[in-house]
Point group: C2
DNA sequence: GTTGTTAGGGTCGAAATGACTATAACTCAT
DNA sequence: ATGAGTTATAGTCATTTCGACCCTAACAAC
């Protein structure tokens, strides 16, 4: 292996390698009270695609793992730590960038709403509704669409919705996450029944006071608190279950 | 984005980028008649890990997509075309190779048994039972384990088992694939019932003659004949369902 | 013929799921 | 204070799914 192309030739052809990150957060619409998915984008300050919005990213440092590079992107653009960070896909089409051959390893992350609200916004960093994120630089439109697709898959599978929320949450909030991601209404009673069994959530003895209706009980996530899953998939697997629901 | 590190520094740090491929094929044990998963490995002919077995792979050419590079690896090592080829994961740990910083984008492929039998074997290319593939070069042990994990996920989900078989197959053969991958016995009657509904298989009007028992009917796969899924995930998604099975 | 073995169809109960009803607990308007 | 409105939470019921199991059909070998 490691073919016979000589080294100088290989270097000459070597595509640049970059890391990009799709960062999802939930925001509650003040009007309808419904949860929506948002993500931060950065404005391109150089060619190509100067002035367009793009996913946060940059070159891979020589002393950091892929995961670390993605986490660094996150810190640098939004000043916050993700509650979930996973590799999405490596994009390497020939025509991704007009100026150079570019291979991007893309990660996707979930952050909590409190953090998303605190995240700085500036001239060149702004949050967008996921459904409004179009016309991005490079092939980032497709990447965002794919990340949403994958988010749907993961959330149906089960153990990712909690990472959108804080340490304590009501079942209605959790259901709001599911509804925002899946894009359909879920029956509150059935949703409750499904979560009572299995999944890594536990009821606390507290309730959320101050609402205008019956105070809902607060729950916590007790599963592997995979702040940022370990580098290799080998280490990541025990926390997940890998693979998905049986459409049969 | 695209940080402020200057270009020369970035080049100096730039990790090498390689493509590797995990190629799975099914072989039937002549003794027990059970199906087993095999994969081809190549012997390292240079340092590091000289003499050890490793996944087929090599550098990414400047004029080929990631997918094309993986397909080329396949051709070059086994002289055969895969019936299925998908990106597995990008591995980029700091300590993967002792001699250099190496990022590997790994693909996994399925090939048909007839093809696997025809595939050349040589001094430096040999097929191994997946369960016997240990002590490989670099972190390839972990990569193979992860590929098997993902294969299990995909097969439970549904649409990948056919790619191990030829154009026409019996349900017993298909069940053999599932049993080899999942590592457990499946009830023939229930298996039949599940496949009768939904999945992209159709009964032909032919039966397989020549066995010593009742001749089984032959079936075909009618789904998207995803010989080699399109480059971007966007194009790949309609054929798949993305994500994995529900451990709940 | 009989026997052995696999193909393929069916039954039955347990478990999961979706649609729905009912009651509890709170706030707010009157 | 009382009732209306809203959400939380429990329960019911019919349908579907799934695993375990049984039975008959169709071949080869003897």
């Amino acid at each position: 292996m490691y073919s016979s192309a000589n080294v100088s030739e290989r270097q000459a052809q070597a595509p640049s390698l970059a890391i990009s990150t799709v960062i999802f957060a939930l925001r509650t619409d003040p009007g309808t009270g419904r949860s929506e998915i948002w993500l931060p984008l950065v404005r391109r300050i150089r060619q190509p695609h100067l002035g367009k919005w793009a996913l946060p990213g940059g070159p891979l440092g020589g002393r950091e793992s892929l995961q670390d590079a993605a986490a660094r992107n996150l810190r640098e653009t939004t000043k916050l730590e993700p509650t979930y960070l996973e590799q999405l896909y490596a994009f390497g089409g020939l025509d991704r960038s007009a100026t150079q051959r570019l291979v991007s390893i893309v990660y996707w992350a979930l952050v909590r709403p409190e953090q998303a609200d605190l995240a700085r916004e500036s001239e060149n960093v702004q949050w967008f509704r996921a459904s409004d994120a179009a016309g991005l630089a490079f092939d980032h439109d497709e990447i965002v669409a794919y990340a949403l697709e994958r988010l749907r898959g993961k959330i149906e599978y089960g153990s990712v919705a909690y990472h959108f929320l804080g340490a304590r949450f009501t079942l209605a909030q959790l259901r709001g996450v599911y509804e925002a991601v899946l894009g359909r209404h879920l029956d509150p009673a059935n949703f409750r029944r499904q979560l009572r069994s299995a999944r890594d959530i536990a009821a606390t003895d507290e309730v959320l006071q101050g609402g205008r209706n019956r105070p809902p009980r607060l729950y916590t996530y007790t599963g592997p608190h995979q702040e940022t899953p370990p580098p290799g998939p080998a280490a990541r697997l025990p926390a997940e279950g890998q693979s998905a629901a049986p459409p049969s």
